[in-house]
Amino acid sequence: MNKFTHVNATTIADAAATLAKGKAQVIAGGTDLTSYLKGMISPNPPETVVNIKTISGLDYIQPDSSVLKIGALTTLAKIAANSTIQSNYAVLAQAALAVGSPELRNMGTIGGNICQKPRCIYYRNEFNDFNCLRKMGTQCFALTGVNRYHSIFGGVNACFAVCPSDTAIALVALNAKIITNKNSAGWDAAEFFGMPNATDARREQINNLAADEIVTEIQVPAPAAGTKSAYRKFSFRKAIDFPLVSAAVVATISGGNVSSASIVLGGVYNSPRVATQAQTSIAGKAINDANATAAGEAAITGSSGIGQNDYKRQIAKVLVTRALTDCA
């Protein structure tokens, strides 16, 4: 395990000040960062770990008529079990329930789930035996090596790792805002995720947070009348696994047809992939087998396998089709 100093923060400002000194990272549930430190994955590990679970007031679920507010330290288990989220934001409850295992959901937080590190098999190789692009290296080993789990929509900064977060996909589909200490208006979820530039010190992140920026709250706008949502996840195992492919659908149905649809794919790209052509395909149409299948086909427009991951295209099609059907 990497050596580090553990600091219990008492306020967000306190935590941010520590982060601003550099070589520091936030820990909450610790389900991701602990294995990252234990595996000595990075050549640039944090020297200080800032515990924000000691900050009060960040663990809540507050639904009202216009927006659902979720504190960053709210556990995934609580989100999955919340009846309001289950009924009005089903895609988020289902995504939270799809994470890991009960133990991980009891510890893992929504803030941590959208701030975890990539799961690329090369990036995660312990003791940094494959010093990839994410770690100041010069190549993406997956491109010519094991790429079964990687992007089918190309690389970003030549990195083919995918966004591993279940809830990220749902939050983008729900048009959520990510509130931070430096952005009280909030990031649009769709803008929040992505890989910072390859020369950026933050290149190990799956989001664009600044080095001293901390997620404090998630805000999800209340759905329009007639809105249904669903999350579908594909992995080789029924528990523990990160999504190889996932699909989040939020569809508003009016007069029997889809008046608006937000369709987002996970596990197939560097960040949640908004399937705009699928959205267009289903817009104004009833959700039936034919239309859902057509939307599924449209969802993979522009994708291509890079060796071992062509299967993801088939799975993405099917998941979009099934998630749409769930919303019928």
Binding site: N2, G39, R119, I121, E126, D129, F236, R237, A239
Partner: protein, 757 residues
């Protein structure tokens, strides 16, 4: 078959429930010893696949606070090597105050190499002019062959012929809970070593050789073990720990692998690729088999699956082990049977299809009857052969014949998925196999209870099994026989290489022998005590024992307890030793009782057998396979320790489902590195994937006449389930899935269906 009635052995209630020791943390593993007093060792591994170490600079590591020493091939030449033959080979050991410091120092040691061309893909080794891996002199191949009859003559007799190519099976290791580790320290010139070894006394022999020491100065201990799988026959860790301790003046050092390093280079199951040319009569009778088998990472073993299950008059079996620049493969939960079982099943199913008969029918037609001797020299019979009963049991219990349908036809379920069912059976290569002789000690106590001294470790309560043997033979109650010392090379005899392969047959036989020795001595003491001594002319042959009482057979009312017999008796009277020769059986092996007209002592085969049926549903849109039901029957000879049998069943089931549908090694072929080191990468199945309630497990009892209580090892009882799951998928979708060196994950099913490339 009517089986002799046991008083103790085989009764499920006779169980010490050692699970409490695991659950309460009382079980002592290697890493638990010397708390607060030991240093820790970690290992740096090579990052090239082939070459020579040019230089090692440990200056930075040794300057790190807490680092005490490093060892290289210069300090430890019998366990580390200057020549690198695969990525991940151990190169430098580091000793530090704590394990994390030792691990952090790994990347502070600079190693440079003279790199040589490497070969990391098995198929490349089969091409002319292939790069040499350096593992064998002048070649990458180790050919082997076997012939029965005349294949050319067989071709003339065949009505139907078929050539099938069976692609590479999977190679895997499933990362046991307790990573490889050993604790060593020196007192003067005596060496003490703890390792969770499956072969305590074999481990001692290896350490003696590594350190080139006299055996009387090496003291080995093997207590509890967190996952054996056959791979814990490895002794290398003990050698490393001993050299590490030597480097720090004999202080205790716990050498421990990280999870990653555990997966990096330790033994794993090898993969096999085969080509079968078959010939059969129109009635389904097999006539010849002309097979080629390539084994990646180990020798091309002569598969028992082929040799001892089916009647095939003419056989040519050729092949080669392939040695390339990847970690060696070997005995990992059954050496050869899973891959060969899969290839044989696939090939046999294809031949059945061409013959227009079902997989059940072709097996029923060609299975060797129980009273048929081996088809190859020296033409031995079996002490008991249960494959036929296993096969009929799973077929009957699963309803196989009524559920089977032509592959990919008329099988759509109401949920849209496709139904499939597969069957497999084979005679296992395990049973009473023992490479060396085994021995046991039974000690009668003054209070009339007995102790066994077991030279083995204690996973799955193995000494409990020995208690069953001992209590049954002594004629004592189960609760009057205890495990005394175990896992201590100084106080025990070699009770055997612990595992499903040999331990029951050989270790059990040794303790039956020891118990008989002990019993004879106690009986000799008993006839000197009242009331037996009043019986005129009484001899020990007139006595028997049951429920811890010794009685006069002509008049059972004349009896005394073991306690009375031992009262005032010199301790030596209650000391029994026994041994079992290599190959099983008491004191020389062979039949213990006449069989098929053969006299006692005749050499026979002692092997397990298994049959499986799997029923699946396949989602052809996603490639996902769900096991709807699984039936496995395994031949045990007599069941001695019921819980142990069922434990082996359960873990075997999980293993085979994993091998079929979930996990496999992840190789980076550019480097030859095993890069899947975490459970999320190796895809170890979870309980949600296994669904234990769907598995139906049947221990099939026989009476192995080569073993004193009729028991043989059950080996790896469910290895055929790997094959029948893949057969069931074929039955569902009508096309065989290529395992492609790994499990049949959904992406491979989609490829087979033409829905992915």
């Amino acid at each position: 078959m009517t089986l002799p009635v046991f008083n103790v052995a085989g009764k499920p209630e006779n169980h010490d429930c050692h699970i409490k020791e695991y659950l309460t943390g009382k079980a002592d593993y290697t890493g638990d010893h010397m708390p607060g007093r030991k240093l820790f060792g970690a290992m740096k591994h090579a990052t090239i696949a082939h070459g020579t170490i040019k230089s090692i600079d440990a200056t930075k590591a040794l300057n790190e606070t807490g680092v005490k020493a490093v060892i290289t091939y210069k300090e430890a030449p019998t366990v580390l090597n200057q020549t690198i033959l695969y990525w991940g080979q151990p190169v430098v050991g580091i000793v530090a105050d704590d394990w994390y410091t030792a691990c952090r120092a790994i990347n502070l040691v600079d190693v440079t190499y003279d790199e040589l061309p490497s070969i990391t893909e098995a198929d490349e080794a089969l091409k002319p002019g292939a790069v040499l891996s350096g593992k064998r002199e002048g070649t990458n191949l180790a050919p082997a062959s076997f012939t029965r009859g005349d294949v050319d003559a067989g071709r003339q007799q065949a009505d139907i012929e078929l050539e099938t190519i069976q692609p590479w099976t999977t190679t895997y290791q499933h990362s046991p809970i307790e990573s490889y580790q050993a604790l060593a320290w020196w007192i003067g010139d005596h060496l003490y070593v703890y390792q969770g070894s499956q072969n305590l006394h074999g481990n001692k022999s290896a350490v003696v050789n590594y350190l080139e020491m006299p055996a009387n100065k090496v003291h080995c201990f093997a207590r509890y073990l967190g996952g054996g799988h056959g791979a814990r026959l490895s002794n290398w860790e003990s050698g490393i720990a001993a050299f590490m301790s030597k480097a720090v003046y004999g202080l205790p050092v716990l050498f421990r692998e990280t999870k990653k390093h555990n997966m990096l280079f330790h033994i794993r199951q090898y993969e096999v690729k085969s080509t079968y040319k078959w010939g059969a009569k129109n009635d389904g009778s097999l006539v010849y088999l002309d097979a080629q088998n390539w084994v990646n990472g180990s020798g091309a073993g002569m598969s028992t699956v082929m040799r001892t299950t089916w009647i095939i008059p003419h056989v040519k079996w050729e092949g080669a082990g392939i040695y390339i620049n990847v970690p060696d493969r070997g005995s990992w939960r059954c050496v050869a049977d899973p891959p060969f079982a899969l290839n044989m099943t696939m090939a046999m199913d294809k031949l059945a299809e061409k013959l227009n008969i079902s997989p059940y029918e072709i097996r029923r037609k060609n299975m060797m009857p129980v009273d048929m001797p081996d088809q190859d020299s020296p033409y031995r019979y079996w002490g008991s052969k249960e494959v036929n009963e296993c096969f009929e049991t799973v077929a009957r219990e699963s309803g196989y014949t009524s559920k089977w349908h032509a592959p990919g036809q008329n099988n759509k379920r109401t949920d849209g998925r496709l139904h499939g069912i597969g069957i497999h059976c084979h005679t296992d290569s395990h049973g009473s196999v023992a490479g060396t002789s085994m021995a046991g000690i039974v000690l009668m106590q003054p209070d009339g209870t007995a102790l066994i001294e077991a030279g083995c470790t204690k996973p799955h309560n193995s000494p409990t099994m020995l208690v069953h043997f001992t209590a049954e033979t002594l004629g004592m109650k189960y609760e009057d026989v205890f495990v005394g010392d175990w896992g201590n090379s100084d106080t025990t005899l070699n009770s055997g290489s612990h595992g499903g392969s040999a331990f029951t047959g050989a270790g059990g036989s040794a303790f039956v022998s020891a118990a008989r020795d002990c019993r004879a001595k106690v009986f000799a003491a008993a006839i000197t005590k009242t009331p037996l001594k009043e019986i005129a002319g009484i001899t020990v042959d007139d006595l028997d024992a049951k429920d811890s009482e010794i009685f006069y057979k002509p008049d059972p009312t004349k009896r005394i307890t073991f306690r009375t017999a031992m009262n005032g008796t010199p301790p030596i009277a209650g000391y029994g030793t026994g041994w079992a020769a290599a190959g099983g059986g008491t004191g020389g092996g062979g039949l213990q009782r006449p069989l098929f007209g053969l006299p006692v002592g005749t050499a026979v085969n002692a092997q397990s057998a298994a049959a499986s049926v799997a029923e699946v549903a396949v989602d052809t849109d996603t490639g996902e396979v769900e096991i709807l039901g699984h039936w496995n029957a395994t031949g045990c000879g007599r069941v001695i320790f019921y819980e142990g049998v069922m434990s082996q069943f359960g873990s075997g089931t999980e293993l085979q489902i994993a091998q079929a549908l979930y996990y496999g090694d992840v190789y980076d072929y550019a480097t030859g590195a095993v890069i899947g080191s975490q459970f999320t990468e190796t895809q170890l199945p979870t309980t949600m994937d296994i669904r234990p309630s769907r598995h139906n497990l049947y221990p099939i009892e026989g009476d192995d006449h080569s073993a004193p209580l009729g028991a043989h090892g059950i080996g790896e009882p469910v290895v055929g389930s790997y094959a029948c799951i893949l057969s069931a998928i074929y039955n569902a979708i009508g096309v065989w899935v290529d395992p492609d060196h790994g499990a049949c994950n959904p992406d491979k099913v989609l490829k087979a269906l033409g829905k992915a490339t």
